[in-house]
Symmetry: C2
């Protein structure tokens, strides 16, 4: 419970100051300016007053109970102050002071120490090296922070890892005339974590939307557990900045090299149903829509406009935001024909004409709200001087009252002289946008959240026909021999016992072995070396394709025997597949997160277009299908220009089995199935080459 | 000369009114409110006064000279009023009245009539069915328009085909606190055209940037001629909305089907060096940058920030906007080490730290302005309460005074309480953005303009070794026979006489012909039918690939002879090429514009990814190379993963010869070279199949 942090009944500021340019001064000023509803206790070693409020020489001298104490003293003095807070019974501290984990060395030790002191005294720590919190609730008005944004009371809460970005977003919401509810930026997060705050905010009724900025996740699994639950009921709008470690770390696998800096966090967002943004403006605009409107039940938007140009822009932008503009129903059409001007355009977008007043706008809005093929309504209104614009505004608000569909308004006007129009609409709870572009993008994001909410709540169903024990043995053996890569024969067996189809392969060592299998071989075949010393087989001349007869194969065997020597060297004769679509399935383990599964089409899709998608294991069937569908090459898999597509069910099953394999065996660090050859007839799709790193 | 339109010494309003909701009232109100510097002459049949200004019963009764007259009477009365204007010697009329060409039928005739009257009396017509013009110059202050935006005086001029979009953009500039210079929205453009206005604005010294909105171009060639000249000296920022006819018209050719609704206008913008936008906000933000700052000499941006998060966002967004963040020079680095705080980050972005004041910001800005590797400077500034923010602002302005590189400022602050900081910077001529995202996109567009300006000023060089006369004969023959498509034998000859390499082809009619050439044939070959009745050869069973011997070929010949009959039927034996990269080169003629040349890679690039580029003929060599380079598949042509690329010079030459062919012969409406097979060795690249429609 973080009640005493976000709804503190009293706040002390240890390190309060009368010098205006200090944080100890600024926090008290902010608390006063914002109208904090509880007592403020400045703590200062000497001054009897700070900010004209009675000050105390130590937290121990403060008369009342202290829910929350800011600590802004020098970093080395923080442990002593914490001990005093412990004696006093302070419930929460916000340590604004920097100079802890982020400076490394002694700072790390110091941070450990204060966490220990906190545990000992049952003090929860927010920070250190952080801004603080804000609660705009009329009963609280806690501006326990040194930032400058001055929010009105509203429904959007902002949680930011980077104080800078958090402050910029918060200020932007203020600029856009939108209220906020709670704010938190917890810096080093030594104790109170982002998931813990999220969980608490999920229960805060007046928080309708959560904006979340993160640079990296300390504990992705804990984060996902919480976020997945929160987004079922409350939208989280995520903005990630900064580069993860991923881009930098050395990668051997193909999958690894295809991961971008933000691949992992994007995959986390998607897994949790967090709407992802790269642009703070669009983030804020979408938050405003979600804070005031119902979630769209689908992608079908109905657009109303009173001039052609903006209607066309709205249409273009909605389509690009992934929305659809369906035809309006016949009932709607005939209703509009009766209620709009004769020259009005009664299709989607509905052009009510510049002369349209409250009656016409009302008819159009009402009709689209009733039309069962429409999920959301966007109203464009350029305010003509010859129209009762306030009347139009009031009509919008009246119709929005009981609407179960979201309504967004684009009001293009001189805000100075027509401010009243905008005010009526905003006060009526309809979000107002300056341009169709921003409204369309906001609606796109709102609709995306609806899609997330409607995702089937699938359980991960494991395949029972796998041999987990045997895989464990193979991995243990490799570990025992300190091998990083499994041998090809191990990889093939491992895939086979997980019922993942692999090309037929026979391992041989010498001409003697060969003679024993000679009459079973169906040519053409592929011939490869298998040895832990030969990691890049093709580059090292260890692969020969398209061998057509016994004589050729024997020659290659002899060549290989001369070229590759060593106790573990084996040679493998493999079935040679032709045709089929080249697929790459990869897995890369990410610290703290688990396995990222990659899917892509081979050839130019991967080589030139880097057209791959990632999701976090374990996958549901819905996710496995989504992984395939979200590549641009998906069209090829479905079949283009008369060419047959591939068996998507088989591919989905292979992905799900791989997901189970790596989840069962966290020792697997990287896995590349490259290529899998996929065919139309089920049963034929097979893994042609694979590599596993443990 | 449009002086009397944009700088009218007197304005009459014919159809002036005392009723507030009429255009005749509104225009006079706007002229008065905006402080028009000349006399206003209301014309009203009865009222002695309109808007408390003396009114006249007819334009003929107006005492002084009339530079400009608004006409807002009923459409059918316009001709009579125009005649009176003629008698009076009015120089320009703005016909706001609607009901002309746009309503079709009688309206078209009425529009023709007023144009005739205008010619007769030497009256230039702006409109009809239009808004009007605005000039904010202190000496003019002409708000000859019925819109609501109230601009300050500035350097951005707005020219809009759609009055609605024009007004929205104009208002947005006002909202962003930016002045404008001239405004025009000329509706039906019966006389004064967009190119004419552009040409006039090009000579207006105080117009530094032109914003242009168009839906379609009445005369693309005239537009291009003017725009290409204007953009050499003055940026034009183009926004296109609406769908051209192209998407709708029936297309037979592959090229046609790959054209999007805005392909033609995009190609026009690119040809003219007009920066293209799809988003009004980004358009306005870029205009503000270009109106106040020098054009970047290159893509290299230096970023300064005082907090990490926004610096990272700025970096990401600049890269995505096509800019580069080069390392700063060693001199810059060591200078910054001496002049910034010890913990500051002296790389790009330069993090001067939150504690940085005027001195540190000054050092960083100065150093980046001096660094020869940096073309533009973006300053991010979150205003900390403990810093002299006004001082930082003043330092920015001081350093920007003589800077030859553009400086953009992202000021993240509480504008209500820190408005002074923003004001100092804006007044100092530095554009201020709310977020790093918008500044980055603006800078991206500014840099794009710089690229356009630096394009080589190439002449179109024609190949002399072509036989123009022979092609004319071929086309004339087909026209005479009323054939829409040229026969294959004609197409091949036509390409050959333009020295465009085609696969070797022999045309035969019967087994007798075949025997004559039998011993020259090198197998494998392709066998095709050639007849005007067989347009889709493959679909109609008229193509057989990979014929390996004489017997097979004879069999196909007999089959074809049975299947395809008609006087024009011929059969063609063609060299069968294998390997090579499939290329598609297409041409589509667009009404009024000329030929659009398309380039793309065959296979999935075209089929799945629609990865093609278009440019307008005739092409310079620079443009032909650009056409190839701007496809995503270009990487494949350069060569990927050890595979050889293709001979790009040969491909460029083929494109240039095609450009010349269609320019020499405007009768060619569509042309598809599909495929061209391109190889590494020059000389091998050849057209395999082609179709020409006249």
């Amino acid at each position: 419970m973080l009640d005493a942090l976000f709804q503190p009944k009293s706040i002390a500021v240890i390190g309060a100051s009368n010098r205006p340019l200090t944080i100890g001064y600024r926090i008290i000023q902010n608390l006063k300016d914002f109208g904090y509803q509880g007592p403020i206790y400045p703590v200062h070693p000497k001054n009897p007053e700070v900010h004209k409020i009675k000050a105390y020489p130590s937290i121990l001298k403060v008369p009342g109970e202290v829910d929350l104490a800011h600590i802004v003293v020098k970093n080395t003095m923080v442990p002593m102050v914490m001990e005093e807070c412990g004696q006093k019974g302070v419930k929460f501290v916000i340590i604004n002071t920097a100079g802890f984990k982020e400076i490394g060395g002694d700072g790390i030790e110091l941070e450990k120490k204060i966490v220990e002191i906190g545990r000992k005294h049952n003090i929860r720590i927010f920070g250190p090296n952080c801004q603080g919190i804000i609660n705009t609730d009329e009963k609280v008005r806690a501006y326990a922070n040194f930032t400058f944004a001055r929010p009105e009371t509203g429904y959007i809460s902002v949680l930011a890892q980077s104080g800078g970005v958090g402050e910029v977003i918060h200020q932007r919401l203020v600029d856009l005339g939108t209220g906020t509810r709670l704010y938190a930026s917890n810096g080093n997060a030594a104790d109170i974590s982002i998931p813990e705050i999220l969980q608490y905010w999920a229960t805060d009724e007046k928080t309708r939307v959560i904006i979340l900025h993160i640079e990296s996740l300390a504990d992705p699994r804990a984060f996902m557990k919480v976020a997945l639950e929160v987004t079922k009921h409350k939208p989280i709008l995520g903005m990630k900045t900064g580069r993860t470690e991923l881009g930098a770390r050395a990668v051997v696998s193909h999958t690894g090299s295809l991961m971008k800096a933000d691949t992992a966090i994007e995959a986390v967002f998607d897994k949790c149903g967090i709407i992802s943004f790269r642009n703070q403006e669009e983030l804020c605009q979408a938050a405003i829509g979600l804070a005031t409107q119902p979630v769209p039940a689908g992608p079908n938007v109905g657009i109303i406009t009173n001039t052609g140009g903006p209607g066309i822009i709205a249409t273009d932008e909605c389509i690009e935001a992934g929305l659809s503009l369906p035809d309006i129903s016949e009932i709607t059409r005939s209703f509009l024909k009766d209620h709009l001007f004769a020259e009005a355009s009664v299709s989607n977008p509905v052009d009510v004409l510049a002369t349209a007043g409250p009656k016409e706008y009302g008819a159009a809005i009402g009709a689209l709200l009733k039309d069962q093929g429409i999920d959301s309504v966007m109203i464009n209104f350029i305010t003509p001087f010859f129209v009762d614009c306030e009347g139009v505004a009031k009509e919008m608000v009246r119709l929005a009252q009981d609407a179960s569909k979201p309504i967004l308004a684009v009001i293009m006007t001189d805000k100075k002289r027509k401010g009243e129009v905008v005010k009526i609409i905003k006060d009526g709870g309809i979000p107002v946008y300056d341009l169709p572009e921003s409204a369309s993008r906001a609606l796109g994001a709102m609709t995306k959240y609806g899609e997330y909410q409607r995702r089937p709540d699938e359980k991960i169903v494991g395949f029972k026909d796998v041999n987990k024990v045997r895989v464990k043995e193979i991995i243990d053996q490799a570990k025992k021999e300190q091998r990083e890569f499994l041998l090809a024969r191990e990889v093939i067996e491992l895939l086979e016992v997980y019922k993942i189809p692999v090309v037929e392969s026979v391992f041989i060592n010498n001409p003697e072995d060969f003679r024993q299998i000679a009459d079973q071989i169906k040519y053409p075949v592929v011939f490869k070396v298998d040895s832990q010393d030969v990691v890049h087989k093709s580059d090292q001349g260890g692969v020969v394709l398209g061998i057509n007869n016994e004589q050729q194969l024997l020659k290659e065997l002899n060549d290989f025997r001369a070229k590759f020597t060593g106790p573990d060297v084996r040679f493998v004769v493999q079935e040679y597949l032709s045709g089929g679509k080249e697929i790459i399935i990869g897995v890369n383990q990410v610290e703290g997160l688990g396995h990222l599964i990659m899917f892509g089409l081979g050839g130019i899709f991967v080589e030139v277009l880097k057209d791959v998608s990632f999701k976090i294991a374990p996958l549901t069937e819905h996710e496995a299908r989504g992984l395939i569908q979200s590549t641009r090459g998906f069209a090829v898999l479905k079949g283009v220009r008369g060419e047959a597509g591939v068996d998507l069910n088989k591919l989905t099953e292979i992905i799900l089995r791989i997901s189970q394999l790596v989840t069962d065996h966290p020792e697997i660090r990287e896995l590349d199935l490259n290529p899998v050859l996929a065919y139309n007839q089920s049963g034929q799709t097979k893994v042609v080459d694979a590599r596993i790193r443990i």
